[in-house]
C-alpha cells in the first residue's frame, strides 16, 4: 500500500492555481497526511481566509491522487496553527524570484502607521531601490511594488506572521 511520504511526493506535482510556479508543497499548505481506515486524510491550511485558490487546490489534489490510483482520499481543512509565509520552502522562494515575484522578506508589516514598508529586492535586477505602490495586490497574498532602478513593476508576496 502507498504510504504518506509517497503521497506527499505525488503532491509535488500539484501547483498553486494562482502562482503556478509553486507546488502546494513549496507553499507549505499541506500539513499532516494520515490513514484512517479506509481513507487517506490530507490536511490543508488556507493561506488567507478567503483565498479562492483553496477550492481549486482541493479539486486538483484529489484529481492528482486519483490519477496515481488513490481514490480513497479526502481533504480536511485545518485553521490551527495558522499558516505563515515562514512555511514557504527555500526552493519555493527561489522559484518565486525566478517567476518575477519577490518572496516574503522576514519582517511583517504590522500595525505601525506610515512605517517604512519592508525593503524588498527587485526580482529582475536585484536592486534594493524599490518602492511599495500598494499594500494590496492582484491576490490576497501580494502587495504591489515598483523598482526605481529598472522601473519594473512587480508583485511582492507579503509577509504573513
Amino acid at each position: 500500500m502507498v504510504n504518506a511520504a509517497q503521497i506527499r511526493h505525488y503532491l509535488e506535482e500539484v501547483s498553486d492555481p494562482e502562482i503556478p510556479v509553486l507546488t502546494i508543497i513549496d507553499l507549505g499548505v499541506v500539513q499532516e497526511i494520515y490513514f484512517t481506515d479506509p481513507t487517506w486524510i490530507i490536511e490543508l491550511t488556507p493561506t488567507y481566509s478567503g483565498c479562492p485558490a483553496m477550492q481549486q487546490i482541493e479539486v486538483d489534489l484529489l484529481a492528482k491522487l486519483q490519477e496515481k490510483g488513490i481514490a480513497n482520499a479526502q481533504v480536511k481543512h485545518v485553521l490551527s496553527p495558522a499558516w505563515t509565509t515562514d512555511w514557504i520552502s527555500e526552493q519555493g522562494r527561489q522559484k518565486l524570484r525566478m517567476y518575477g515575484i519577490a518572496p516574503p522578506v522576514n519582517e511583517s508589516d504590522k500595525s505601525t502607521l506610515f512605517a517604512e514598508p519592508p525593503r524588498v529586492a527587485c526580482p529582475k535586477c536585484n536592486s534594493m531601490d524599490t518602492r511599495m505602490v500598494s499594500l494590496f495586490g492582484s491576490t490576497a497574498c501580494k502587495a504591489q511594488y515598483q523598482c526605481k532602478q529598472c522601473l519594473e513593476p512587480f508583485d511582492y508576496f507579503k509577509c504573513l506572521k
Binding site: P46, G50, D109, S111, F136, S138, A140
Partner: protein
C-alpha cells in the same frame, strides 16, 4: 443553553463580516483609483472568508444540520445579527474608509482577545483572522490620516463621515445576557476592555488626522437584536437573489 449563547455570539461575528464584505464588494470596478479598487475588494474577500469559517462553526453549534451557505443566504432579515454600522451605504470613499476604520479598530483587539478563548475553533479562526485584520487597520488608519490632514475637501468629507457614522459605533460594544453567560465562563472577553482599546486607536488616529471626535452621543442600535435600518433589505435582496430564485444552486 450555553451552546445557544455561543451560537448567537459566533453568528454576530459572522454576520458583521458577511454584510461588510458584501458592502465592500459593491466597490468592485468603481474604486477611485485602481490600487484602491483592488484593496477594498481584497479586504472584502478576507471578510467573506472569515464569515465562511464563522458560519461553519455556527452551524456546528446550532446542530441543525445546516451548512454555511444556508446560514448566509436563507435567513430572514430579523435573523441577521450584524451591527447597523456595517450595513450603512458606501457613500463616498471617505464614508467607506471611516466605516471600515471604526470596524477594524474594533475587530483587531476582539480577535486578539479571542485567540485566548478555550473554545478552540473560535481561537483558531481568531488567530487566522487577526493577521489579515492588522493589514486592514493599517490601511484604513493611513487613509483616515491622509484624508484628514490632506486638502480642505478631503478633510471636510472625512469629518462629515465621522459625524454621520459616530451614532452607529456604540453598538459595536453592545452586550446582553448571552454575552454575560459566555464571559462568566471566560469563553469570550468583556467588550468594555475592547471599547477602551478601540477608543485609544480612534483618538490616536483622529488626532494625527486633525479630525474631531463628535461630542454628540446620540446612539442608533438594534442590529444585534435583528432590528435593522432600511438599507438591510436591499443588501439581502442582492445577496440572496440567486439562492431564492434557484434554491440549492451551486456556482
Amino acid at each position: 443553553m450555553q451552546d445557544q449563547a455561543l451560537f448567537e455570539y459566533v453568528l454576530r461575528l459572522a454576520d458583521d463580516s458577511l454584510i461588510l464584505g458584501q458592502r465592500l464588494g459593491e466597490w468592485c470596478g468603481h474604486g477611485p483609483i485602481l490600487e484602491e479598487d483592488i484593496a477594498l475588494t481584497n479586504i472584502s474577500l478576507d471578510l467573506i472568508g472569515q464569515a465562511i469559517s464563522l458560519y461553519d462553526l455556527a452551524a456546528e453549534l446550532e446542530g441543525a444540520g445546516k451548512n454555511h451557505d444556508q446560514l448566509a443566504y436563507l435567513r430572514f432579515e430579523n435573523e441577521y445579527k450584524n451591527v447597523l454600522l456595517v450595513e450603512q451605504p458606501n457613500g463616498d470613499f471617505a464614508m467607506t474608509i471611516l466605516r471600515q476604520f471604526f470596524f477594524d479598530a474594533f475587530r483587531l483587539p476582539l480577535y486578539e482577545a479571542l485567540m485566548q478563548s478555550p473554545v478552540s475553533q473560535l481561537a483558531a479562526i481568531a488567530a487566522k483572522s487577526v493577521k489579515e485584520t492588522r493589514y486592514h487597520l493599517k490601511h484604513t488608519s493611513e487613509w483616515v490620516i491622509r484624508m484628514g490632514d490632506g486638502t480642505d475637501e478631503s478633510h471636510e468629507r472625512a469629518q462629515a463621515a465621522i459625524d454621520h457614522l459616530w451614532r452607529y459605533t456604540s453598538e459595536l460594544f453592545y452586550e446582553d445576557n448571552k454575552d454575560e453567560q459566555l464571559q462568566a465562563l471566560e469563553q469570550v472577553p468583556s467588550l468594555k476592555g475592547i471599547q477602551a482599546n478601540w477608543m485609544e486607536t480612534v483618538k490616536t488616529v483622529l488626532y494625527e488626522a486633525t479630525l474631531a471626535i463628535p461630542t454628540n452621543n446620540w446612539k442608533f442600535e438594534g442590529g444585534r437584536e435583528g432590528r435593522h435600518s432600511e438599507h438591510m433589505g436591499y443588501i439581502l435582496a442582492d445577496l440572496q437573489y440567486m439562492q431564492r430564485a434557484y434554491p440549492n444552486m451551486e456556482w
